[in-house]
């Protein structure tokens, strides 16, 4: 098993600070600034790579991946509803979280591959942006099926929801970063911007993971409720999605590195974009449950154990050693 990246140790540092009730607090403004920075940086990197490809070459895979990602909640929903005994709203909402993606998990995946010097298609951030949305729609539909007819109040404002999702800052920053990165690649002017956006990326990620550790620690209590189910689901489901992502990457002829990243994307679970969307789409769902599950179980599992496992899966798939 490859060594754990030092950067993810900052997550543990945050969790421990939370558990021993240290007075350590990351200023809100720093957390928000870094999340803006990370999304732009991921976008720039992706756009820059994309400029070296023929968009037409990337398009078919993109569309297929978007479509299949939308199906993930269809698998998650029945498990949550009938095995986990969650109510309809929560089941749909959690399913949407798992269908969507986490940019930070993605970033940890990139850091992992960079650490072992493995090549991957640079346009992966495009997939990150594309995979964020479709599952949110599926999850919302599942959460609301049948309810809208019974009461007028429950009616979803799809217009507002679409606006929220597509103008939501995470998607917007990613897409904006991709556009500017593409332009940078086209005019071949990368130089002075790389110092902030590329060189400092892992350092910024470290500080972000520290705060995420603090957040995760403060969310752990929710897991006690349906403890066993939540832990099993929070680990087994991303593993399944990761295997599915590996297969898809292989099927679409991605490089091993790209396949691993795709597995990470499928396995990752949103805790920023999805909660924001579900708040509007499925106000009856309890955010504490979905965020707690996502941040308290699946996120740490993915960054410490999941990522290396998806890489092992990929190597096995490609017959590498």
């Amino acid at each position: 098993m490859p060594t754990i990246q030092p950067v993810v140790m900052f997550f543990i540092m945050g969790v421990v600070a939370g558990l021993i009730r240290s007075d350590l607090k990351i200023p809100d403004a720093l957390y928000k600034s870094i999340s803006i920075y990370l999304l732009i940086a991921i976008g720039l990197k992706g756009g820059l790579s994309l400029s070296k490809y023929d968009i037409m070459e990337v398009l078919p895979a993109s569309l297929a991946l978007v479509f299949t990602a939308a199906l993930i909640p269809l698998v998650a929903y029945p498990i949550l509803r009938f095995v986990g005994k969650f109510n309809q709203a929560d089941s749909g909402s959690i399913a949407a979280h798992y269908g969507s993606v986490s940019a930070v998990t993605f970033a940890v995946g990139l850091a992992f591959l960079d650490g072992i010097e493995e090549y991957y298609e640079g346009y992966m951030p495009l997939f990150l942006a594309l995979l964020e949305v479709p599952a949110l729609a599926t999850g919302t539909i599942l959460a609301l099926m049948g309810t809208s007819s019974s009461s007028g109040e429950g009616k979803t404002d799809w217009g507002k929801l679409l606006h929220e999702v597509f103008t939501g800052s995470s998607i917007y920053l990613l897409m904006g970063g991709i556009a500017i990165g593409y332009y940078m690649g086209m005019v071949k002017m990368v130089e002075p911007l790389d110092k902030l956006f590329f060189d400092l990326f892992i350092g910024a990620l470290a500080l972000f993971l520290l705060e995420m550790g603090l957040l995760a620690a403060s969310r752990l209590s929710v897991i006690r409720q349906k403890g066993l189910f939540m832990i099993i689901f929070g680990i087994a489901f991303p593993l399944t999605c990761g295997a599915f992502g590996t297969t898809m990457g292989y099927a679409f002829n991605l490089s091993p590195g790209g396949t691993c990243i795709l597995a990470v994307l499928y396995a990752s679970c949103s805790y920023i974009a999805a909660p924001a969307a579900m708040r509007i789409a499925v106000p009856k769902a309890d955010p504490a449950v979905s965020i707690g599950l996502s941040l308290g179980v699946t996120f740490p599992f993915n960054i410490f154990i999941g990522v290396p496992i998806y890489w092992e899966m990929t190597k096995w798939m490609y017959g590498l050693s």
Binding site: K32, I272, P275
Partner: protein
């Protein structure tokens, strides 16, 4: 107390997202002064709301407003249906406006 005018003090608490709409309503009612405190949290029928949680920000706003009694009645009439829709609360109490600053009620 001399040089004071008997007035009503209205205190509205609502979601910060509704502030613009409420300000519009107040303008319609001819209100010429109010004070706004953001970053409020609280407990209510929709549970706890906290502006401090970076992953799930729910921010309330407190609007404080002093006006004459008839004006107050007008405001309440306009604001009541909105609060019914949004949630929040609205209190009225008696107060005295200390004369001195420019009239803005």
């Amino acid at each position: 107390m001399d040089s004071t005018i008997a007035m009503k003090r209205i205190e509205i608490v609502s979601d910060v997202e509704k502030l613009e709409e409420i300000a519009g309503l107040l303008a319609d009612a001819g209100v010429r002064g109010y004070t706004v405190l953001k970053k409020a949290g609280g407990l209510g029928s929709r549970g706890t709301r906290s502006p401090d949680d970076v992953l799930w920000e729910e921010e309330n706003v407190v609007i404080i407003l002093a006006c004459k009694e008839d004006q107050a009645a007008k405001i309440i009439k306009l604001i009541r249906p909105k609060l019914k829709e949004y949630g929040g609360m609205c209190l009225i109490s008696d107060c005295e406006w200390v004369e001195g600053p420019a009239i803005s009620y």
